[in-house]
């Protein structure tokens, strides 16, 4: 018996000694350290704010660092300031709200996030987190980004298109200024999108009415070449946006009505490196060179890595969302902040179950015109690894305005779209 145990004990002792040795060499990395393919093996067991680097990287992040040029500059975690109005409205939902599968609504929800307390043991925990994202974002009642670009990037050749557009979203429900609901309560919000460049897209605009039920949005487009508005298919939520790599469903990683998906699974909680206090702007529209125009993108193949931004440890829920059978993806894995509704990463898998796309969004807290604290997207990348192509959404943050005074639902109608058409 002893003869058998001795080699095992010796081996175990050696392993413990090695581990102890490794821990003895593990260091707390300073902010500003950049994790890259060159140093990942060296720093993997080091820590940052008490977490090992290995634990702060998702499997796909690590894969990107090793194989696709991603670099992750470390930054200290900072609190996201949560607006008191939103906190109050969210707290008021505690114990009063319930997912109604039949109507595809959250009964009892008024404003804020509908499920302020997520119990990991709750079988609906994942779905509730998604509803929080869908209804309870810290986006303000009116978000207006006058300039953003959607850079189309070929992984080998670089940028091949950079259309410029304007975006306005007006909340009709869950409002935190004035009445919580405008209109008859059927609408969740209205959205206007105008393209400004290039010349063959300039003037193209869309007007979307999103509903607070299972109904697909109503969408209209003004088409300058024929000078008229045409109704578009609202059932296109699974289709790509224009010629980009993102589906309508991928706008800010998850854009579907939660009930359109067939199920959600809570895979757990963990801490990952994500951009929650993004540098701004990520797009300088007056820039001449690549570096001037896209301050955080690395001008080196594959050109879509936002290596110049700052990544901080964020605690996230990891959720697997199962798509309907006609969806191009079989599932999405989402990384959602546990403190407020924000999705940092999404992984999309094709129908064969193979890894297909990765989505990464960078955000930052900001002050609205009326003092509300909102959280804005500074940019985001949707990377199609099977086609070696990406769409990078970048905002001219300086011109963004939230809760602009003097605007009402009357300013966001089909007539508004027609009036803008030239």
């Amino acid at each position: 018996m002893n003869d058998i145990k001795k080699p095992v004990l010796r081996a175990a002792a050696a392993v413990i000694a090695l581990a102890a040795c490794a821990l003895a060499h593990a260091a707390e990395l300073p902010a500003g350290t950049v994790i890259s393919a060159e140093n990942i093996d060296k720093v993997k067991n080091d820590t940052f704010e008490g977490h090992t680097i290995a634990s702060l990287l998702t499997e796909k992040m690590e894969w990107r660092i090793r194989n696709s040029g991603m670099k992750v500059p470390l930054a200290k975690a900072k609190e996201i300031p949560l607006d008191p109005k939103w906190v109050k409205a969210s707290a008021a939902n505690a114990g009063k709200t319930k997912i109604n599968a039949e109507t595809c609504q959250v009964d009892g929800w008024q404003a804020g996030q509908p499920f302020p307390d997520i119990d990991m043991k709750d079988p609906q925990a994942a779905e509730k987190v998604i509803w929080n994202w869908h209804l309870g974002q810290l986006s303000g009642d009116l978000a207006h980004a006058p300039f953003f670009t959607q850079v189309l990037i070929d992984g080998e050749k670089g940028v091949h298109a950079e259309p410029v557009a304007e975006f306005i979203r007006y909340s009709m429900k869950g409002r935190l200024s004035g009445d919580a609901v405008e209109g008859d309560g059927s609408e969740r919000g209205r959205q206007l999108l105008y393209f400004k460049a290039p010349s063959d897209m300039k003037g193209l605009g869309t007007f979307t009415v999103m509903y607070d039920n299972a109904k697909v949005p109503d969408v209209w487009a003004y088409i300058p070449a024929v000078r008229r508005v045409r109704r578009l298919s609202g059932g296109a939520w699974m289709d790509p946006v224009g010629s980009s790599d993102q589906l309508q469903d991928d706008l800010e990683i998850f854009n579907a009505r939660p009930c359109w998906y067939t199920g959600y699974k809570m895979l757990g909680k963990r801490t990952v490196l994500a951009v929650a206090h993004s540098k701004t702007p990520l797009w300088n529209r007056n820039g001449k060179t690549f570096e001037e125009k896209y301050p955080v993108l690395e001008n080196k193949a594959p050109f879509w890595n936002m290596n110049g931004n700052v990544y901080e440890p964020r605690e996230v829920y990891v959720i697997e969302a199962t798509t309907p059978s006609e969806h191009p993806y079989s599932k999405k894995v989402l990384y959602v902040d546990t403190k407020y509704p924000r999705i940092y990463y999404g992984e999309a898998y094709n129908r064969k179950g193979e890894f297909w796309k990765m989505m990464e969004f960078h955000s930052y807290p900001a002050k609205a015109e009326d003092g509300f604290t909102d959280v804005r997207s500074a940019g985001g990348a949707i990377i199609d690894f099977q086609r070696n192509h990406a769409t990078v959404f970048l905002v001219d943050s300086g011109s963004w305005k939230t809760n602009v005074p003097g605007m009402s639902q009357k300013d966001f109608t089909l007539q508004t779209l027609q009036a803008a058409g030239r």
């Binding site: 189309l152 010349s199 000078r227 298919s233 289709d239 007539q415 030239r422």
Partner: protein, 532 residues
């Protein structure tokens, strides 16, 4: 007839091109800054080749001949003068080179009503041509918007066939069929337009008035009756104005007439709808036959419209005004995952030329249609379905579902009487049927993140036979460069054979309808565009 020397033509074409570049160059850096002046546009080089030997250019092989080499500069200026006032200008300059094919048409007689220089048809760079649009936009209060100046107004739903899209005529000398951007073809007019939003009723009112200050040539749809590149078979090299010039000051339709319209558009539940009334010029040119030949043996009496007699020897071309009552609707149908649209235009007293037996002298010696005008109420209607077809992603490897659109268009003549022998168009013997159905389909694909976009547009005349197929592919070469290649294929059941139509049988030798006009007019087209 005075003709310009051949040395001046390339010079003028080059001048047009120079104008084009002059337009473009100062504009290049203009977009990105924060100024209140926004500038964009394009430079485009277009070329087309005949793909068949035309029947109506005897002793000349048209096949393979370069029919167009056109350089276009487009400049859009949008100046926000104050918070509520904007000034918009859309400018277009053209420089086209005379190809040997065009020279041949010129020799045959194209555009010989004027100075015989065929390039005058295409190098239109007078100030009123260059200024495609120029208007000022401003608001009155928080719900009223005003637009004053030369502008375009597009009503209705259909982009192919005009039912309610009758505010303007179209310039078919630019291209006579399937121009993808109708804005290039519309003859913009000087108008005042007022929009009043009525959100309380989920809609808005649009009213416009055209005071009649336009150039004569800016009303009505202009066909190439000058014998040029887009002339219809068998009229290559024939300038009809020699015998039937335009009459823009006819009592039935005078360029100085005040025209206008009013439209309510709104939402009824999930359905977009509009109701409109329009007083406008009938888009199709109408032959106002002369009465001078009355009383001649073997001819029928012709009643000249709107004046005592015509200016032209055989007649005048007129654009009578009509009243159009319109309705449109469109909506998304969940059950079909498709958008359905419809459009109805009731046109009061739409003018038709007709072919009498025996025909007038003009009809007997030239072509059907010189026998006078009859007025019929017409119900033009359209239904369309737009649908994204996902199966192409697996079947054809498209990056997104194929855009598919199918449209059925009809012109339904009210109080139809076959014996009235109404013509679809002067110049051909095809008699209008009570219903004229046209079916079209669009199949739009996309590959490589929009860098390769094949498209197929097909159509057929269900009532009279014939049709077209236009396969094309647009390639985004880079951020600013676009390249398009297109083939325009036409087929027909019958075409007008001039050999069988010598006088006095000119009015009863054929029954050619729409696609017979394009007999052997197939072309290969390509364009290279630089956007700025």
């Amino acid at each position: 007839m005075k003709k310009r020397s051949s040395t001046t033509r390339p010079a003028r074409a080059l001048l047009g091109t120079a104008i084009a570049f002059a337009f473009a160059l100062p504009a290049l850096p203009a977009f990105a800054d924060d100024s209140n002046l926004k500038v964009d546009g394009y430079l485009r080089q277009e070329m087309s080749w005949n793909m068949q030997d035309w029947e109506d250019t005897p002793n000349y092989n048209d096949r393979g001949k370069l029919s167009m080499a056109r350089t276009t500069a487009r400049l859009n200026l949008d100046w926000k003068a104050t918070e509520n006032v904007s000034v918009v200008a859309k400018l277009r300059a053209v420089g086209e080179v005379q190809t040997p094919f065009l020279r041949h048409l010129e020799k045959m007689g194209a555009n010989n009503y004027r100075d015989g220089d065929i390039m005058d048809l295409y190098n239109r760079n007078h100030i009123s041509d260059v200024i495609r649009e120029l208007y000022v936009d401003f608001t009155l209060g928080d719900r009223t918007r005003v637009r004053l100046g030369k502008q375009q107004i597009a009503w209705g739903e259909t982009d192919f066939f005009a039912a309610n899209d009758l505010v303007h005529g179209f310039d078919w000398t630019w291209r006579s069929f399937l121009e993808p951007a109708n804005e290039e073809l519309r003859k913009a007019n000087i108008m005042a337009k007022v929009n009043v939003d009525v959100p309380e009723l989920d809609g808005g009112l649009e009213m416009f008035i055209r005071p009649g200050w336009d150039r004569k040539s800016d009303i009505g749809t202009e066909l190439e009756i000058y014998g040029g590149r887009w002339s219809s078979q068998p009229w290559a090299g024939v300038d009809f104005r020699n015998i039937d010039p335009y009459d823009y000051r006819n009592d039935k339709g005078d360029v100085r007439d005040v025209t206008g319209g009013v439209r309510w558009s709104g939402m009824a539940g999930d359905i977009n709808y509009s109701l409109s009334y329009l007083k406008t010029y009938w888009a199709s040119p109408i032959m106002n036959g002369t009465s001078k030949f009355n009383g001649m043996p073997g001819t029928s009496p012709v009643k000249t419209e709107g004046r005592a007699d015509t200016n032209g020897l055989f007649g005048d071309i007129i654009y009578p005004t009509v009243d159009v009552f319109g309705f449109t609707a469109s909506g998304y149908a969940d059950w079909a995952d498709a958008v359905f649209s419809t459009e109805v235009a009731y046109i009061k007293d739409a003018p038709y030329n007709f072919s009498s037996i025996p025909g007038s002298f003009g009809s007997q010696v030239v072509a059907p249609g010189f026998d006078g005008v009859k007025y019929k109420d017409v119900l033009a209607w359209m239904i369309r379905m737009d649908k994204n077809l996902a199966f192409t992603q697996s079947l054809l490897g498209t990056e997104k579902p194929m855009f598919f659109s199918v449209q059925l268009f009809d012109k339904w003549i009210q109080g139809y009487d076959k014996d009235e022998r109404l013509l679809y168009s002067v110049g051909w013997g095809g008699k209008a049927k009570e219903h004229s159905f046209l079916l079209t389909g669009i199949f739009g694909l996309s590959y490589d993140n929009g860098r390769v976009r094949p498209e197929l547009v097909v159509g057929t005349d269900l009532s009279n036979g014939g049709g077209f197929a236009v396969p094309s592919v647009t390639v985004e070469l880079s951020k600013n460069w676009r390249w398009k290649v297109e083939y325009d294929k036409f087929w027909d059941d019958e075409w007008r054979d001039s050999n069988k139509c010598a006088a006095p049988n000119a009015s009863n030798c054929d029954s050619t309808t729409l696609f017979g006009y394009f007999h052997k007019r197939d072309q290969l087209y390509t364009s290279l565009t630089y956007l700025f």
